[in-house]
């Protein structure tokens, strides 16, 4: 026991000091970090459902990711935002898709996280490409085509050279809408 203390008193003391130091840094920085983590999501929600001032979570049966009621500056409902995730070409893709109050139209889609091929697949994060989802029908399957979309056919055009990434985004959105939309319609 004597020998143990002799050999290791320093490391035990240092351990204790460092633990306190870390606890201090953690406590002072934690609020900033939480804000940062929430920012990406709340900014995305504002982009996909225009007119959103703030949002609150709402639990949806049968869907294990978050869904948000988007409220305007005067507190009235302006739409819903659905958080969705799935596998892309490289790894996971995390996105938010917004719908109108009656869940009749898609108001926007934004990819928040992806690690797709830079210059090709990661163009799914471009507002220009994702803008194609606006005004599509969330009640029908969205189809990916390799040519410009025909109006009324619920289509989007794949990124040239990044068909898999494009299809992945669409699949993730379709799945999420399929699960969530019926519940949203009930919520009206």
């Amino acid at each position: 026991m004597q020998k143990f203390i002799e050999e290791s008193w320093l490391i035990l003391v240092m351990g204790a000091v460092f633990a306190v130091l870390l606890a201090g840094v953690q406590t002072s920085l934690a609020p900033t970090i939480t804000v940062n983590q929430a920012k990406a999501l709340s900014e995305a929600i504002r982009e996909v459902v225009s007119g959103t001032d703030r949002s609150e979570e709402v639990k949806i049966e049968g869907y294990d990711r978050k869904v948000y009621r988007c409220l305007g500056p005067d507190g009235n409902l302006v739409g819903f935002a659905i958080d969705a995730q799935g596998i892309g070409f490289a790894d996971k893709i995390h996105l938010v898709v917004g719908v109108t109050v009656d869940a009749g139209k898609i108001t926007g889609l934004k990819v928040i996280e992806n690690v797709e091929t830079p210059g090709l697949g990661n163009k799914i994060a471009d507002a220009e490409w994702a803008g194609q989802y606006r005004d599509l029908d969330p009640g029908r399957e969205i189809v990916v085509q390799k040519r410009p979309p025909k109006p009324g056919e619920n289509e989007v055009q794949a990124i040239t050279g990044a068909t898999i990434s494009s299809k992945a985004v669409t699949k993730i959105a379709n799945e999420a809408l399929r699960k969530v939309r019926p519940e949203l319609v009930k919520l009206r």
Binding site: L21, L22, L29, Q37, P118, G119
Partner: protein, 216 residues
Amino acid sequence: MAEASQSNLRQFSDGIVANNPVLVQLLGMCPTLAVTNSVENALVMGAAVIFVLTMSNLITSTLRNLLKPHVRILIFTLTIATFVTIADLVLKAYVFEVSKKLGPFVPLIIVNCIIIARAEVVASRSGLGRSLADAFGCGIGFTIALCILGAIRELLGAGGITILRDLGWHWHIDPKTFEPHAWVIMIMPPGAFLTLGAVIGVVNHLRSRGAAKGGA
């Protein structure tokens, strides 16, 4: 004392050039390959390493007479892990986007051979001045090496360099003109290996020429 500060200065400059941790000592390869896909990532990683290396050398040097042989490495590891955690928290608070891009490589600074090596070779045997000079030298040398690689890869791979978007300012070199001709492979894994291999080749060539001239 003139002699002591001369060798401290030497210690510092060695870390940058003659004994550059990445390009000469060939240590710390993992982050070198992983975070050099952009200059911004390289700079932030470099800053984190300078911080951890400095604190590690500082503490190790201060405690050098108390270090017992058996627990030495554990003490180094504990110190490094603590300061890496601090660095990670600071990055998450102030440059969140970049910290996400760096992924597991900030906590991986804990096992970065450079830091443990400097603690063992210099800080545990030298005074404070020497240890700090070494920390700054190696840290800055590391950062410079990473930025050179980052610049090559980002220019060739993305067509331009963008720095510190997070903190609100931009500095870029014409991405649009290069972009159509960019070699995307450069910002992907194979590009990392190829660039590092080529740069080390160049460095070795310059060193052997320097040695030959010195000898002749």
